[in-house]
Amino acid sequence: METLQQILSIDFLLRNSLYTSVLVGFACPLVGVFLVMRRLVFMGVALPQISSTGVAIALSLPLWLGFKLTEHGSHSAHALAFVGSITFSLTAILVLAFMERRGRGQPEGRLGSAYVVAAALSILVLSKNPYGEIGWLDMLKGEVITISNFDLVLTAATLTLVLAALGLFHKELLLVSFDREMAIILRKNVVFWDSLLYLLIGLTVSMAVLSVGPLIAFGFLLIPALAAHQYARNMRQFTLLASLIGGATAFLGFWIAYRWDLPVGPTDVVLLGVLYAIGWLTAKLLQGD
């Protein structure tokens, strides 16, 4: 209880990390719900990794061009990382979604290859980058420690924007996902709504990767949505339950990690996995299987 009081205190040293984790925990599942419904679960795994490769390349770019970033974690470095992250996420999601829609080849193979190549590339790039050695490799491993006020505000603003767009355009995004033909017949611009959804997914993934790393990002994108799907009876319950599971696990994971001095990212993801397994077993027992 003492630990809980500490982390709830407004002058808690790592409060920005806690707030960011919880924000990501609440927001990522809202996008994850669409990934699960559109059967794009593998994309939810590959995208954060591709996004982090974008971060690694963007941070290495000044070095390759002969410039020097004066301070790790500066606004310019963060802006650069954000541009790298969003560029890679959006390009990847648009290319992968386009190839998926054409229906040729093996989508799982493409996504698996993209994931593994992106993971290897980001480690290679950062291993030759002094800034990467200092802090970004930790971030890619899910060590949520140094989050500035600027990072927190940027994360909150981006996720609020995503949340507002998902709420405002929920019926269009749902219709285009559930029944594309019906959407065309009702004269909805399906290319526009698909692109908007991909943009929102890309933004969320980029922001989450940048704030908390790819491990937590894909953990929170998929596991809460998959866990909620077992119990929800309708779309509203599905969305709210997924978001609640994400937010609550982020808080609980942070508490456990702080209490036992564990890295936050892996703690969160393992906790999500345990909750998912318990939920699955309970659901099976309730169904009498």
Partner: protein, 237 residues
């Protein structure tokens, strides 16, 4: 005078510029009930998708309008094409038909919800409207999809084998209901089916696609034993 709603003039239809059927010329009038018959692969679905604007015509002209105003289509697809991963209730599925009238970013007006309930009641789906769509039987899902098509307030109701996988009794009930409501509301019906018996009982006109040829006419002219034997003989060459 009977109002022409859909006119096809020397139309070629197909996929990726490759025609499946050529030289289609026909017209469909308001409040008529037309059945599109044909074996699997005869081009029925391609014709339907072209009419609905889901596929561009390969060549020729297609006019779909009433006094210059684009028509509203209510489409009833085959119910087994939906992914059960979507946790939508029957009511939420039926409500989607109203999305075409609701402005982007606006909440769904209570009047549209009430109209959706009315449509569900009309098709006898009110009792299971709160249930998950994916958990309904094939016949129940068809009723919900018909309700969804009606919530679009359609000029033309397009049904793609709506009675596939549904027992005879339910088929008769569904088609009788459609015939009745469409007469009452002056809705044009286009029904794609394999079911000759259903066509004889409910449709007025038939478009029959057989081995690349298109036969059309009134049901009692085209579906006679002599005429059908003639078509099959021509087809078999």
């Amino acid at each position: 005078m009977t109002e022409l709603l859909i006119t096809l003039d020397n139309l070629s239809i197909g996929y990726n510029g490759q025609p499946v059927l050529t030289g289609l010329s026909l017209s469909i009038t308001r409040a008529s009930f037309t059945a599109i018959l044909g074996a699997n692969g005869s081009g029925k679905s391609t014709l339907l998708k072209t009419l609905l604007g889901l596929l561009p015509p390969v060549a020729g002209r297609i006019d779909i309008a009433s006094a210059g105003v684009p028509l509203t289509f209510g489409y009833v697809p085959q119910s087994n094409q939906f992914d059960p991963v979507y946790l939508l209730t029957a009511f939420e599925v039926a409500l989607m038909g109203a999305y075409g009238r609701i402005r982007v970013g606006h909440l769904i007006p209570p009047a549209e919800r009430a109209f959706t309930r009315e449509c569900l009641r009309a098709v006898g789906a009110e009792d299971f409207s709160h249930k998950r769509f994916a958990e309904l039987s094939g016949g129940q899902q068809q009723r919900v999809l018909i309700a969804r098509a009606l919530t679009t307030r359609p000029d033309v109701l397009v049904l793609d084998e709506p009675t596939a996988g549904v027992d005879r009794e339910a088929t008769t009930a569904v088609l009788e209901f459609i015939t009745e409501i469409c007469k009452e509301k002056k809705i044009t019906v286009l029904l794609v089916t394999h079911d000759f018996s259903a066509v004889r009982h409910h449709a007025e006109k038939v478009i029959w696609l057989h081995e690349g040829k298109v036969y059309q006419g009134a049901v009692d002219e085209l579906l006679t034993t002599e005429r059908m034997a003639e078509i099959f003989e021509i087809g078999m060459g």
